[in-house]
Symmetry: C2
């Protein structure tokens, strides 16, 4: 992700919103730890509504600071989190109505047996919590992750400031479903950076009506797919801003 | 194209290999005019073998100069030429065996009636010249364009120097078919930048076994689609060169 960020001239900000141990300080690391990891969504709610809201606000806070003070006019989401394609599948099934067998993927590369177990975990979680898509924050609390919540905050903030946000893969796509459910007009600021190889990614983007810029069979997360789309967005903006239109020179 | 080149940090070189009138001088313009346009391929050979070979050498010369003296380590093809999707369709049908009805597209946006005429022009040209794919230079001479020939030279030179070349759209794709027929191993240095909306583009790339990096429904030519792929290639190179592999830090 850092190699790609260097290539496209992007600045990296890492937000610790819920790593389950203390991280060493680092120039790029911001800390807004809401709690040390979530609870197990297969046994009970992943977190309380209040914690979910605080994680959303943590993401929003970073985005706000970047836009307000850093001259940032384009945001890219990304995530690191162990097991976070499971809550992504839960969120995607909840907001799109697609069954867990369709929205659940292999994540970091699990085998067939483990994939079956993962699908059943998602199915059981949806049965246990019966998440109500009309209550997006409630959904995020019971079956979401802290990183999903923080990305929701980044997306909503991009819409508030009118700054476009490029989504990375399946975790960001599922967070976009939550953001869209909370504030449908946020969709106008969302750009799908790429279509992750995770099956839930395509389902989430289709539901939002977003056509991804790239489709390179990538599945790493961390913002890699979103960052690769940055030059495409920059080129499009530059063309709109700098090019003479054919009508202006007497054609068409 | 210039707006995109600025975005991706590429240098633009324009080679006049056969414009049918004299161009004003310009800092970016190189002149290696082989002749003033081609002849009408619907009536006879577009050019002689000798002219085709000189156009190939003109493209090769620019590529060689850029790589030898300019520190260039990545080439991108592009073209401007009126009516040049017709020879592209002729070349693509010749080397892939696909009928003109499949390889011929709307170019700058012709209507149904004109498309029918264009398909019949391609069909008639193939019947008139019976181009032999075993004689790639001969094919280029009878049904190619000067820009197609120059791009063949750029592609072959990239292979000679081991410098990758990113193809733009359908004109470059059809030139790649010629380059591949002349020197199959050149394929190892060719990267398909994007899949043009022109139907022949997909057919040519499939024939070469090249998977395009972008598929954005673009059809402008001029190198626009190839240039947009530059950051993807740079990011890939940087990842290979700079990233620590998981094995190196004790994983996997």
């Amino acid at each position: 992700m850092n190699a790609i960020a260097k290539t496209v001239g992007a600045r990296v900000s890492v937000l610790d919103v819920g790593v389950a141990h203390e991280l060493e300080q680092h120039a790029l690391l911001r800390t807004a730890k809401v709690r040390r990891g979530t609870d197990d969504l297969s046994r009970g709610p992943a977190m309380s509504r209040e914690v979910a809201a605080r994680a959303v606000m943590a993401g929003a806070g970073v985005a706000e600071e970047l836009v307000e003070s850093g001259g940032v006019d384009l945001l890219v989401t990304g995530d690191m989190g162990i097991g976070n394609t499971t809550p992504a599948a839960c969120l995607t099934s909840t907001f799109t109505g697609c069954p867990p067998g369709d929205t659940t993927g292999r994540g970091t590369g699990i085998d067939d047996e483990t994939l079956k177990l993962k699908v059943s975990v998602v199915e059981d979680a949806l049965e246990l919590h019966a998440p109500d898509p009309e209550d997006p924050l409630g959904v995020l609390a019971v079956i979401g992750g802290l990183e999903h919540a923080a990305i929701v905050g980044v997306i909503l903030t991009s819409a508030v400031y009118g700054v476009p946000v490029i989504l990375d893969g399946v975790v960001s796509n599922s967070a976009a479903l939550v953001a869209h459910a909370l504030a449908p007009r946020a969709l106008g600021y969302i750009i799908a950076g790429h279509r992750s190889a995770e099956p839930g990614a395509r389902i989430a983007l289709d539901h939002l009506g977003l056509e991804p810029l790239l489709d390179l069979d990538m599945r790493l997360g961390e913002g890699t797919g979103g960052l690769l789309a940055v030059p495409l967005v920059q080129a499009a903006a530059r063309m709109l801003a700098e090019m003479t239109r054919l009508e202006e020179i007497g054609f068409g």
